[in-house]
Each structure stands twice: as structure tokens, then as C-alpha cells.
Amino acid sequence: MTSYDVMPATELYQPVNIEDATALAARLGRKGWLLGGGQDTYGWLKDRAKRPDAFIDLTGIDVLKGIRSLPDGGVEIGSMTTITEVAQNPLINEKFTLLSAAAKTVASPQIRNMGTLGGNLCQDTRCWYYRRGLNCYRAGGNICYADSPEGMNREHALFGASRCVAVTPSDTAPALVALEATMLITSASGSRQVAAEDFFVGPATDILNMTALQADEILVSVRIPRKWADATFYHEKVADRNVWDFALVSLCAAFKEDAGQITDARLVAGGVDCVPHRLREVEQAIIGQPRNETTGEAVKVRATSAATTLNYNQFKVPLMQNLVLRALRG
């Protein structure tokens, strides 16, 4: 083995407007690497597990940065906005604390200062077999090392596995799915909007990519509609340490209540599926119920009714159930 710490030769393009960036993305395709804060990027390159020809550094494009309110009362966040800004922004802290709470649990302060929301949403999975550069399904091969009799898979998926059992690592993605955000995507050939829930894709859809972004596309911004502003939120991330680790399981929940009853709810778990995992069964079961311990106890098993455990991740089943219980306990 060779342990590298030198970056391989890689071109660096630093466009200052979207048009140049999309032109580069169109030209380079998968040979180009869209660069945000780079906090998860360089490890891939140093390890030679990914070998792009060039970086397209998006952090110099001003329109991709910043947080602004939308006419409908929602919020738009540029993809190159740092995680620190997302965590501290007054608009988000006022209306969508679910997202700021999730952003505050991303990595460590220095990484939040450099890392961007777009980068956090588009980062690749943490599966250590895949990251080591092994030729697994996700890398284009025909084996999954994690889902084997000897596989070390305490961090892997309970749901949505299809050949690959990797999970989404993003802390902010479940919050955005819960808030029914929309992703604004652009390319040289036009723009489109994709619901957050559809932006993240599982291995059954595309085993090589974790988002719906095409090779020539750039994530411009995330729009959070007013709908869940001022709802009651619950966020919890359980990891090995208090900080910095990726989630073993996280839960983002939003509740609307009226007269002591839940009238609408979105519950989305991280760390259990290749995509932010919506707990639809739970959502349906709690409508019309009070948000309390009894309801939580009654519905928590629905969170995992479709779970398929691996050798070392059974603990995620009670953990998910307990987080649902805590979300409903309030």
C-alpha cells in the first residue's frame, strides 16, 4: 500500500460567474469535480480513490452565496453558503431551527467555516470499503464488501439497500427533506427544480451517484418554502462522540399541531438509508394523535418495520425507535 498525502496534479478552474461554471461542467463532465469548501474532497484525491482531471471551484461565484428571504416567507440559501452561516443565520434561526440545529452538528467549527451547504448535500458516502478505493458496486465493480459475512457494517443501511448498503452522511439533508425544500439546479442547457426528497437517490436508481445532479449540472441554491416555518421541530443526532463523527442515526422531525393534536408531520432519518429516510408510516400514524409519550410508544415500531439488518447494525433498530419516541415525547 502507499499512503499518500500529496495532492495529485489536478487542474484548477476558478470561474466567477455561473455561465462559465456551467460551460466548464458541460465540457469536463465527470472528469470535472465541482469544488465547494473542499472539506471532503481532498481526502478522496490524496488517497487516489477519485481521480478527476480538474476542479471547478464554485466558491468564487458570488450569486451562489448568501441567504435571502423569499416572497412567500420562505428562505433561499445559495449552495456555496458556508455551514457556519447556515447555522447562525437569523432568518433560519427564526423560522427553520430544524436546519440550523442540524447544521450545528456538522463536523467541527473549522470545517463548518469552510464547508458549504452544497458540499454537505453532495458529499459522497462514508462507507470505508468504498472510500478505501476498493472496486465495489458503487465504484463500478460487482461486489459489496460491507454486505458480506465478514463485512464490518455497524454504520451501514437498514433501508433501501440495493447491492450497495452505504448510507447518506449528510447532516443537513434530512432537515431539508423534512422542510420540503426544493433544489435549484442549472446547466448550460437550462435550469430545473427538484424536490429535496427526489434530489437524493438510492442505489436502486443510480448506484454510482448519490444525487440527481447530472455530470453537467450545478446546484445553485436550496429553497425552503414557508410551509413548515414556525412548526415544532425535533432534531437529534446520535454519533459515537459528541461531535464531528457522522451520525449513527439522526432524526429531523417537524410537527404541526392544533388543539393538542398533530395535524401534519414530517419525520426524516439520516444514517439509515442511502438517502434521507422518510418515516411515512409513522407520519401517517400520528396524524390526529397528541404529541406525547403514549403516541410515541404506540408508533415507534413503525419506524423500523421495513428494516433489514446486517451483522453489526442491529443497534440502529432500537435507536431509531427511541429517537421517534423522543421526537414525539417532545
Binding site: S108, Q110, N113, V243
Partner: protein
Amino acid sequence: MKVSLTVNGSKHKVDVPSNTLLVDILRDHLGLTGTHVGCDTSQCGACTVHLNGSSVKSCTILAGQAEGVHVTTIEGIGSVTDLHPMQAAFRDRHALQCGFCTPGMIMSAIDLVNTSKGLDNRAVREGLEGNICRCTGYHNIVAAVLQAAEVMQGSSDE
């Protein structure tokens, strides 16, 4: 590629390959070896510097991304005869044993104090989450940061 950046108040132009990381410019080109590399994967925090005042890990920033910015390293915050209050507190409170994590720890702590109010034990610990110290158990580090915060915030309020 040519990169222009200001380091500790001095302007520098360096001609480096586009894959060069900021830490390599600081250590190898400018001889600022107070910025340490403990992991090269943005985890240990020993390479923490300020980019326009904000703490970042210099092992995980391309030189090209530092174009035009102000970089401050441990060498740029105080001198032997005029220590920054955070440096003085680390020295006085025995907040180091081997001293390898110290520059990064000090740079993170300064950013933390500059951007926070009413710091307490818990807040300091959370603010230093990106820096590993393997020697001290963090006890004296937290005490030093709280001491420096009093000095720094006391003087800025005046």
C-alpha cells in the same frame, strides 16, 4: 499557478502547482513551521490558521482558494516580547504538554473568543471540538481560554 496572498500582514506571491495546499505554502515556501500537520485530513486541527479572521484547517484548502485573502498563522498574532493574550494564557496556565497541538488550538480559541459572548466551560469545549490534544485532557486548555477571553473581551468592551 501564481497565488497572491497576505500572510501575517506581508504580501506574498508564490508560483506553485494548482494542487498545492495552503499548509504547504506556509510551511515549505514561507518557512512558517508553527503551523503543524498532524493528520493532513482536516481532523486533528494542528494546522488551524485564520482566513480573513475565521479559523480553518490549512491542510484542506487549496492555495488557489486563498488567493487575495488575509492569512494569519501562529507566528502572526503576537511576538515573544508581546504575546497575544491567548498565547500568554496558554503559557501561564500550563495549557500544553508536548506543544504540538498548541498553535492550532490557540488559533481556534482566538476565533472562538472573537465570535462568542459569555463563554463558559461548555461553550469553550464545543468551540474547540475541531482540535485534538492528546496530552492534557483539555483541562488546562479550557482554563486558559476562559482566562484569555476575560482579557480579550474585557479590553474590547472598553
